[in-house]
């Protein structure tokens, strides 16, 4: 059994079935990419895996290290090691990044406000943040800002990867992490992700375009069309897509150009 298994997952939104039986297996140390055109169900996949309340699971199973996830709340899934880097990170007014990160770390450690020995100390907190903040070129002042409020597109995505680096998940879903990124940000983000890859971490990159895959080489590529995986293979699948686009499956003018996009 793989470390992360999606078995015949079917998901609906507002009564419409979007994912029509998706199966994927990701082992620790591996990087997978799920590629697909608009409307193929990419966002549904990432949201449903994390447990967004607007997505109804209609069938199937998801296992992380043998533990079934679908009956669990989002926070329980996260504490088991699942992470979602959001396509559109949410602004949470009045909550500072520092408070947010510290609370998330404490939750992971089982600190419920009582046993102070479990809470992360200020020194350890600073040390945990130092390296990823440096790699991601994130300034200290960022910690006293409110979560994602007034962040540029690049800052938001870098903040997502910072959280990932701090929380150290065993399975990370990166939803369109390169969209809205300027060229500098994409370098910092992929540098940070590449420094984490391997070891205990499995990564699933969800993307329309091949751009980010030039920076983070996937071991496996899956093509998602109309709620189903229509092809799986090695990184050569992404190379093909760059030439042909999704035109094999959907009517998409200028598809090749759209998949390659300017880097």
């Amino acid at each position: 059994m793989a470390d992360f298994e999606i078995k015949d997952l079917r998901v609906g939104v507002e009564g419409r079935e979007i994912l029509k039986g998706v199966s994927l297996q990701v082992n620790r140390g591996e990087v997978h990419a799920v590629m697909g055109p608009n409307g193929s169900g990419k966002s549904t996949l990432s949201n449903a895996l994390m447990g967004h309340p607007s997505y109804q699971v209609l069938g199937g199973e998801v296992l992380l290290n043998g533990q079934s996830l679908l009956e669990l709340q989002p926070d329980q899934r996260a504490r088991l090691g699942l992470y979602l880097a959001f396509q559109y990170p949410i602004v949470v007014p009045g909550v500072t990044m520092a408070n947010f990160l510290r609370t998330a770390l404490n939750a992971q450690r089982g600190y419920d406000g009582k046993d102070k020995a479990k809470a992360i100390g200020p020194k350890e907190f600073r040390e945990l943040l130092a390296e990823p903040m440096n790699t991601l070129r994130i300034d200290k002042s960022f910690l006293s800002r409110y979560v994602n409020e007034g962040f540029s597109g690049g800052e938001k995505k870098r903040a997502e990867i910072l959280q990932m680096a701090v929380l150290r998940p065993t399975m990370a879903l990166l939803d369109e992490t390169d969209s809205g990124l300027d060229i500098d940000s994409i370098k910092y983000v992929s540098e940070s992700i590449n420094s984490m890859r391997g070891g205990e971490l499995g990564i699933l990159i969800i993307t329309h375009y091949t751009r980010i895959l030039k920076f983070i080489q996937p071991d496996y590529v899956h093509v998602l069309v109309n709620g189903q995986v229509v092809r799986s293979g090695g990184s050569e699948v992404a190379d093909q897509l760059e030439n042909t686009g999704y035109s094999e499956w959907v009517d998409e003018p200028a598809a090749a150009a759209a998949v390659a996009e300017e880097v």
Binding site: M50, G51, H52, P53, Q73, P74, D75, A78, R79, Y83, L84, F86, P89, I90, V92, P93, G94, V95, N99, F100, T103, A104, A107, Q108, Y146, V147, Q163, L167
Partner: protein
């Protein structure tokens, strides 16, 4: 034991050893009180506010000093006034400040010793004839604070007045009068405090602020009356040229709380910041009426009222921006945001504009709704349990107001009070 009769005004004046002119003022206000009926729901201001259950005959005119008050949490002060029930307050002030001409004394003492200063200002902005309850406050106010800061004097530490009520069944109506000299700068905190008591009380906590030219005044009202209280109060600031007034109201206590918060901008360059937060639980009811009155132009007012309501708590907000004919170049902002934390909680919000001059910038807005599920999902996706996530979002919601409380210890106190109420 004294009911709400004319002789009560004299008794209170006697208790506070007030001069004849103030005694006469009380009597005049009492006549207004007797003449006016209770506000009716046919009046626009009271349309959503019910006084059902308010029985003025059930109250004693004043409250004897009772059990001693808890220590005020604000330790590092320029001066402290403590008043229990309707008895005259006791003051401690930094002697340096007294030498610099700062006056921080019980209101009745100021009326005796500085009549020219007090007479000119007292009940000029908070008008006794506004309605029956305002008249009652002026007729039977139970002392309060007088703070005068001379021209050019800047004071970093805050002044704190604590009004404590411990028995219930009576009127407790403190009044604050603040006069800021030209270019002066200081903060004042009023704390209104009582435990939850058996018998209903009628309380206020009205304040008049006169901000002289280029002065900078911070005023914080911590309304922490017990859940037996009917509270009616008027807070009103008058701003002269280039002055800045920042008022923050924290509505935490009382079963019923009706507050008018108003600023009149009377000089160019004046800037009024009106902020409030309120948190209702159980059966609490809050009513805020606000006024940003731009009498002259090139003045700014910025209002933000934020409230959260749990259980069956309810709130009414009605705010008016009024730009007078000559007030061109005014900027006025008004926002009221309400967070409903239960299905039964209710918030009404009515922003209003009255603009007599077109050369102005005004924005206003109101929102009423539950906690945004996307906020919760985002926090939970990082492993934060739902209860903790909810607490963070609610706390964060108040952040914009909390950060404007000019006195750190007052801010911490309010944060703690909010935490206790959020306590899911």
């Amino acid at each position: 034991m004294t009911a709400l009769v004319l002789s009560a005004a004299d008794e209170l004046a006697g208790l506070h050893d007030e001069p004849a002119w103030l005694r006469a003022k009380r009597r005049q206000a009492f006549a207004v009180y007797e003449r006016l009926p209770l506000p009716q729901r046919t009046e626009e201001e009271w349309r959503r506010t019910s006084l059902k259950g308010l029985d003025l005959d059930a109250f004693q005119a004043f409250e004897a000093a009772g059990a001693s008050a808890p220590a005020t949490p604000i330790a590092d002060t320029a001066g402290v006034l403590r008043q229990s029930g309707s008895e005259p307050g006791k003051v401690e002030i930094d002697p340096e400040l007294s030498r610099a001409g700062v006056l921080f004394v019980p209101l009745s003492q100021a009326a005796r010793e500085y009549p020219e200063l007090v007479q000119k200002h007292l009940f000029q902005e908070v008008r006794p004839d506004r309605d029956k309850l305002a008249a009652l406050h002026a007729a039977l106010f139970s002392g309060g604070t007088f703070l005068y800061v001379p021209d050019g004097v800047s004071i970093a530490k805050p002044f704190v007045s604590q009004f404590w009520s411990s028995t219930g069944g009576a009127l407790v109506l403190p009044h604050t009068l603040i006069i800021a000299g030209r270019g002066s700068s200081f903060n004042h905190v009023d704390e209104f405090l009582s435990p939850d008591l058996e018998q209903p009380s009628l309380t206020s906590g009205s304040a008049e602020i006169f901000a002289g030219e280029a002065s900078n005044v911070g005023y914080v009202a911590l309304q922490r009356w017990g859940n037996h209280a009917w509270q009616f109060a008027d807070e009103r600031a008058r701003l002269e040229k280039d002055s800045t007034v920042r008022m923050v109201h924290a509505g935490l206590g009382a079963r019923f709380s009706k507050n008018r918060v108003e600023a009149s901008l009377n000089g160019p360059g004046a800037r009024a910041e009106l902020k409030a937060l309120y948190f209702g639980t159980g059966q609490q009811f809050f009513d805020f009426h606000t006024l940003q009155q731009h009498v002259v132009g090139h003045s700014t007012s910025d209002l933000l009222f934020k409230g959260a309501l749990r259980e069956q708590a309810q709130s009414v907000y009605a705010g008016l921006i009024r730009i007078e004919v000559g007030a061109s170049g005014s900027d006025a902002y008004q926002a009221n945001r309400n967070l409903l934390l239960s299905n039964q909680a209710k918030a009404n919000s009515i922003p209003m504009l009255e603009i007599m001059n077109n050369d102005v910038r005004c924005t206003h807005g109101a929102t009423v709704g539950p906690v945004d599920p996307e906020h919760l999902f985002y926090l939970e996706s990082r492993g934060i349990p739902p209860m903790v996530a909810q607490r963070m979002v609610v706390h964060g919601f108040f952040g914009q107001v909390l950060e404007r409380i000019p006195v750190q210890q007052a801010r911490e106190l309010v944060e703690q009070e909010l935490e206790d109420r959020i306590g899911f």
